[in-house]
């Protein structure tokens, strides 16, 4: 097993990986930009190396600097987390060439599957159904416009190198097409260094269902069931759950089999996710393979009782999967809510800034994968994810109540967060009924604003805070000199 792993990431996922490494007695190296000097991952790792200025291209996306940090600290393996370089085949091959181990699939697999049109070709030849659309990407706006009218609107513009919704747009009619392509190309180029786009037919009332897969270097491939990730804003997931309310046992078996075929056809190794769109008819289509650990991996961990990061590391070290498909069972229901520094009442605008107060929810079945702390300044340079709130319960209804209870006791002050929005979704009829489609937010919550019923309570808290301030000073001094049991015991005899 490795003695030391470098984590080429930041925020909650870096912290998440560090924790498993610690349990495996593997030393950890964090890397950080100047904006993250006080990042939680820097504080939690055994060692931390500054790699550059805040701009991602000069720090977290800089392959040479990260490899240098690995060499300097003697790390044997690099875990990329998600985002940044996680799905960059050049990074994976640079790691391989440097004689280090990349905790993820081989660079060749990332290259094949990261090229979304190449992936569609692989899946088509393996008999996995794909969405109607282009099989070759292009940067030529005219070609895209022609293809779009061929497919018929609405179409989905996607980045060939895409992921996380970057460079992705729905175009309803020919008028906005050219302009949308230019902006999507610019976003894709910035996010992935590749501006090529392709089109897919946009399917209505679909659900986003993905299957977690694990594959070792010895040809064993299994799946760990599905995650339903239909609730998205800006094509980025915000709520995920497992199991999906839409899957019958037969459909689950069929999709699981397709996921394993997809992994086998691409000669996949390590943890990965096969994403499908599920149409109301029950027909499912291959969307893409995410060749990395997913943001929402904890819900699978909760229902299968497996630590996916641990298995990623075991697989990267060359070990065989210690179980087969028949050994994998799932139990209960898990939900994840992503806590973003965004204002949900203003189109989910980013809300960076200092965290003035931070208190995580606790209690049975509650897990927080966090990346911030009180006093931390949320930087403007990176993805606005602050952390993830995950709950597990014996069934969906109980899990929803548990999530609501946890969200209501999750206090973050200083930055706007998605928490009140998420609580309203948990309480909504469509969510309760499991009517979760990819346009859920546009359909049910397009003009969401926080309920004002509590504003009097906020006013009361304001006044009491003024009133209680002198009391507080004495409360603190009491804490400074707590009475010993001997002073408070009174007349008891021991």
């Amino acid at each position: 097993m490795f003695k030391k792993i470098l984590i080429a990431n930041r925020g909650e996922i870096a912290v998440r990986i560090i924790r498993t490494c610690r349990e495996m007695s593997i030393r950890t190296v964090a890397v950080y930009s100047d904006a993250d000097e006080n990042g939680l991952h820097v504080l939690e790792a055994d060692e931390a190396v500054r790699i550059g200025p805040p701009d991602p291209s000069s720090s977290y996306l800089n392959i040479n600097l990260i490899l240098q940090a690995a060499r300097d600290t003697g790390a044997e393996a690099i875990h990329p987390g998600y985002g940044f370089l996680a799905e960059n085949p050049d990074f994976a091959s640079a790691v391989e060439d440097a004689g280090l181990v990349f905790v993820g699939p081989p660079s060749r697999v990332i290259r094949d599957l990261g090229d979304k049109t190449r992936a569609r070709q692989i899946m088509r030849s393996a008999g996995v159904p794909v969405i109607p659309g282009m099989l070759e990407p292009t940067e030529d706006v005219e070609t895209l416009c022609e293809e779009a009218s061929g497919l018929g609107f609405p179409v989905l513009v996607k980045a060939a190198a895409g992921g996380g919704g970057k460079g992705m747009r729905i175009v309803e009619n020919p008028r906005g097409m050219a302009e949308t392509c230019v902006s999507a190309m610019s976003e894709a180029k910035k996010a992935f260094g590749n501006g090529e786009l392709y089109l897919e037919k946009f399917l209505k009332n679909t659900r986003h269902i993905e299957f977690q897969i694990l594959a070792d270097q010895h040809g064993h491939v299994i799946h760990l069931f599905e995650r339903e990730c239909s609730i998205q804003r800006r094509h980025q997931k915000i709520i995920e759950e497992t199991p999906s309310t839409a899957l019958s046992p037969e459909l689950r078996r069929a999709m699981g089999k397709a996921a394993v075929s997809a992994a086998t056809a691409s000669r996949y190794v390590n943890a990965g996710t096969v994403e499908f769109l599920l149409a109301p008819s029950g027909q499912f289509y291959f969307l893409e393979v995410n060749t990395r650990l997913q943001v929402e991996h904890p819900i699978t961990e909760m229902t299968t009782c497996l630590d996916l990061v641990r298995h990623q590391i075991e697989i990267a070290a060359g070990n065989s999967l210690p179980f087969g498909q028949a050994d994998i069972t799932k139990r209960g229901h898990a939900i994840e809510c992503r806590i973003y520094a965004e204002d949900p009442s203003a189109h989910f605008f980013p809300s960076p800034g200092p965290v003035l107060l931070y208190k995580e929810p606790e209690g049975p079945g509650v897990r927080v994968d966090g990346g911030i702390y009180e006093g931390f300044e949320v930087p403007v340079e990176y993805d606005p994810i602050l952390g993830k709130l995950i709950v597990w319960a014996e069934d969906r209804k109980t899990a929803v109540s548990r999530m609501l209870r946890a969200l209501r006791s999750y206090a973050i002050l200083g930055v706007q967060t998605t928490i009140p929005f998420l609580a309203d979704v948990m309480e909504s009829g469509p969510f309760e009924r499991g009517e979760t489609y990819t346009r859920f937010i546009e359909t049910h919550f397009s003009h969401w604003s926080p309920g004002r019923q509590d504003s009097t309570l906020a006013g009361i808290a304001y006044l009491i805070d003024d009133l209680a301030r002198p009391l507080r000073a004495s409360a603190t001094s009491r804490v400074a000199n707590p009475p010993t049991p001997w002073e408070t015991l009174g007349e008891w005899r021991l």
Partner: protein
């Protein structure tokens, strides 16, 4: 004692009167009167009992604003009577339009040059925050009088990035 509290965007008058008992008070909101018992648990944590119902509140102060968490919601609360009146940001008809970023961000691209004629809705500056790009557009037809920023500059709400002189007779 009477207060006018600005809670998010709404002003709410509240009146507070201490009661005989320690840590007990009465707060009137309009016609409704609330009996509030309280305890300061820590520097930021208040335990309130409002009309017999227990409420946990967390309060963090930043300048003249209190950030308050209560029952799963967060609020920005200020004392409206003590607010230093800040220069009005309302754009009246004859003031040049202020092009400001809606959040702390970094200037990605500047799409116009000083002296350019611009049309209402035309993109002027693209700012980027947390990997999301936003285009700031001209509020009306006119010409670019001044550009106060450059690519890659860090900017914040309140910074006027581009000054637009309004074309006479243009719709605002």
């Amino acid at each position: 004692m009477k207060y006018n509290l600005l809670i998010d965007k709404e002003t709410i008058p509240l009146e507070i009167s201490p009661l005989e008992e320690k840590n007990l008070t009465e707060i009137r909101a309009g016609e409704v009167s609330h009996r509030v018992a309280y305890k300061a648990v820590s520097e930021t944590h208040l335990h309130l009992v409002v009309d017999g119902r227990a409420v946990e509140a967390f309060v963090a102060k930043a300048g003249d604003t209190k950030h308050i968490f209560v029952e799963g919601r967060t609020f920005l609360v200020r004392d409206a009577d003590q607010m230093v009146s800040s220069p009005s940001r309302t754009v009246s008809d004859d003031i040049p339009g202020d092009i400001m970023p809606p959040m702390p961000s970094v200037v990605a691209r500047i799409l116009v040059a000083e002296g350019d004629q611009v049309e209402r809705g035309q993109g002027l500056v693209v700012v980027s925050a947390m990997k999301m790009e936003t285009t700031l557009v001209a509020p009306y037809n006119g010409w670019v009088r001044k550009i106060n920023t450059r690519a890659e500059a860090k900017v914040a709400p309140g910074d006027t990035l581009v000054e637009i002189e309004k074309e006479v007779g243009a719709d605002g």
